[in-house]
């Protein structure tokens, strides 16, 4: 059969479409299932029964035809919601109890506890790009925040600290239409969660669940993404 140039172009386009779709599916599922556990967790040498969840830092932007705009208030609300859902998922799915973080918020009186939390958040922000660069090295126990973690003076029963970071994009109606016509990234929320040993600072787990859709309204999808994100974490068992 002699192939006309039109058929060739059509077949080439179809092939590109299939490859692109496979890549997209591969990328998405990889991101959702990307969980890396420290050998101490996989070997069950360390168990996570009680955690302190540090305030989440999730930033969302509204992408309109006039460019991205900050959504400071919505980002704050979303941060609180993500923190809450993570606490629920850890508690219901993994039987992990959550304790309150050290005093933070007013900035009045003794500022030291507030500074300590802020400094550890900064330390995690500094470590995060290195983890992201080679996430699988969490499995080798490469990343640690050091024993300075003990300066936080958390409750003795605390096994780990949960750090939450995230970024998302919400599209306006105009931008959604534009994206459909021209192409571009859809609305999404990508979280980056690290669980750090409260006794020596080792990074015990790193997971980066992604959810597609408006991050400010997708509550159920957020829960599902987080459930998947913590799938590999062994459920806590009562101390013998």
């Amino acid at each position: 059969m002699k192939l006309t140039s039109a058929v060739l172009v059509f077949r080439l386009r179809a092939l590109i479409f299939v490859i692109a779709s496979l890549l997209l599916i591969g990328f998405t599922s990889h991101s959702i299932n990307a969980q890396f556990l420290h050998p101490k967790i996989t070997s069950k040498e360390t168990a996570i029964r009680t955690v302190v969840v540090f305030p989440a830092k999730v930033n969302v932007v509204r992408d309109s035809m006039k460019g991205p705009e900050g959504m400071a208030a919505e980002s704050d609300e979303l941060s609180v919601r993500v923190e809450k859902v993570i606490t629920e998922v850890l508690s219901k799915q993994k039987q992990v109890a959550t304790l309150s973080p050290p005093t933070q918020g007013t900035g009045q009186g003794d500022a030291q506890p507030n500074y300590n939390v802020a400094d550890f958040q900064t330390k995690f922000d500094d470590l995060l790009p290195k983890i992201m660069k080679k996430r699988s090295d969490v499995k080798k126990g490469r990343f640690t925040m050091g024993d300075e973690v003990l300066n936080l003076n958390l409750e003795k029963t605390t096994d780990a600290i949960v750090f939450i970071r995230g970024e998302g994009k919400k599209l306006t109606g105009g931008k959604t239409a534009f994206t459909l016509l021209v192409g571009g990234a859809p609305a999404y929320l990508k979280l980056r969660i690290g669980i750090v040993d409260a006794r020596n600072g080792d990074v015990l787990l790193y997971t980066d669940p992604v959810l597609a859709g408006d991050p400010t309204t997708a509550v159920d999808r957020l829960r599902k993404a987080l459930e998947k994100g913590f799938k590999k974490l062994p459920a806590a068992q009562a101390k013998p």
Binding site: Y115, T122, D147, L150, N151
Partner: protein
């Protein structure tokens, strides 16, 4: 009048200090500014940012330091000036990177990294005056409006490019957005060259009005140009005027406005007063620098502090800086300060942890030599700190850490014990107790 005199004066004549009061320049305010919805959104976000900085523990709670910067700020704001939707607030942020910024609602922030870098009050006033101009001239709103227009253009160009695949517009956009996204970033964040220049020049006028030494604006630029950590990477495109350029046009502007040139003695007095007030902030910054792996900055600033006041606490911080500097050189070499070397270093910073960097350096003879030299220097400084008047207990902790690293577990444990004995309620007591337990076991 003063302009004419200085314009015809030779440089030597211009060095003479003028005693007559300086004529105030009109306040550099954008009076005709009308607020739109977009501006009100920015204003709301500024208020939220203020609250977020406070809530996240980034604002320094040092009453003396905050009162000091407030006094400088208020002395620079033209008397009787009332600006719609501006409420002046001057605060210090806990960040070792030298920086300052102003929000359009009147909040002016400067980092501890900046405070520790500058030499005197006039230099700090220069920075604040520059930031005040951004607020008074409503630069944030102006820039935001301009960026929105640019984005709209970019989106239209993207659409054109998408519909003409392979066409020049599409290719340009693809290159810009995928290969060099910093071009977009540089346009979006920060002010344009014109606005920065305006802030510099109006800042000089404000300094003169408030009787600060205007030449310190140039000196502070020179200080900012000092790249201790090798972080100032020149990008292919940058919307800000380079520091060299700023120094040039400011010097030229001062040549025509040099109606007050301060004697060195007066500046030295100002420096001593500044260091006295800011000493606790400077120590706090050195601690933050060490924690952030900015060891060279820590050594540089701690040395300045020891030169000013060699008491036990300052000696302790210098010792800490040398101990943590480890196998690194205290100053970057000329080779390390080239643009390509800085880019490589920036890439490595994302790949390696500080411990890994240290291990790599220790594997080299030069690294080993540096490490030995710095540990020795640290030990000497710790011992000087212990022999000073009113030695601080943390010196024992520092010595403990030094001995632990040197493989002297018994000495390390006893130093830690001394520390806990002298500071039983220390915030890091649990960490130190655990270290003692481990050391005693080995």
């Amino acid at each position: 009048m003063s302009l004419l005199i200085t314009a015809v004066c030779p440089p030597a004549e211009a060095q003479k200090k003028k005693t007559a009061p300086v004529e105030a320049t009109p306040p550099p305010v954008r009076e005709e500014f009308k607020f739109g919805d977009v501006d009100l959104e920015i204003l709301e976000q500024s208020d939220l940012l203020d609250r977020k900085l406070e809530r996240d523990g980034l604002v320094l709670h040092d009453d003396a330091a905050n009162a000091y910067v407030r006094r400088i700020g208020q002395s620079l704001v033209p008397k009787g000036l009332e600006l719609e939707r501006v409420n002046w607030n001057f605060r210090v942020l806990r960040d070792p990177q030298p920086n300052a910024f102003a929000l359009p609602n009147g909040s002016v922030y400067m980092t501890t990294g900046l405070i520790v870098l500058v030499d005197n009050e006039s230099q700090l006033a220069a920075i604040i005056a520059h930031e005040l101009t951004h607020v008074m001239r409503r630069h944030t709103y102006v820039q935001n409006r301009s960026n929105r227009k640019k984005f709209l253009t970019m989106n239209i160009m993207a659409a054109v490019g998408a519909y003409a695949p392979g066409g020049i517009v599409g290719a340009v956009i693809i290159v810009v957005t995928t290969v060099a996204p910093f071009i977009l970033m540089a346009t979006v964040y920060g002010y344009s060259q014109d606005l920065e220049r305006e802030a510099d020049l109006k800042g000089v006028d404000m300094m003169i009005s408030a009787e600060y030494s205007p030449e310190e604006m140039v000196n502070v630029m020179k200080l900012l140009d000092r790249d201790i950590e090798g972080e100032n990477i020149r990008l292919f495109y940058n919307d800000h005027p380079s520091l060299d350029e700023r120094i040039k046009y400011l010097s030229s502007y001062l040549g025509t406005r040099a109606d007050r040139v301060t004697h060195q003695m007066e500046l030295n007095r100002e420096r001593a007063a500044y260091f006295k007030i800011m000493e606790p902030v400077m120590r706090h910054d050195i601690q933050l620098s060490i924690s952030a792996g900015r060891f060279r900055s820590a050594v540089f600033h701690a040395q300045r502090l020891v030169d000013f006041h060699p008491d036990s606490e300052n000696l302790f911080w210098l010792a800490e800086a040398y101990r943590t500097l480890g196998p690194r050189l205290p100053q970057l070499t000329d080779k390390e300060l080239t643009n390509s070397a800085k880019k490589d270093a920036a890439k490595k910073r994302v790949k390696r942890t500080l411990e890994e960097e240290e291990q790599e350096l220790l594997a080299t003879p030069a690294g080993k030599e540096n490490w030995q030299k710095h540990q020795q220097k640290a030990e000497e400084l710790y011992s000087r700190a212990l022999n000073s008047e009113n030695p601080v207990p943390v010196v024992h902790r520092g010595l403990g850490m030094l001995y632990e690293k040197l493989g002297r577990p018994s000495d390390a444990a006893s130093e830690y014990e001394k520390y806990l004995e002298l500071a039983p309620t220390a915030i890091d007591r649990e960490r130190i107790k655990k270290r003692i337990e481990t050391l005693r076991r080995t």
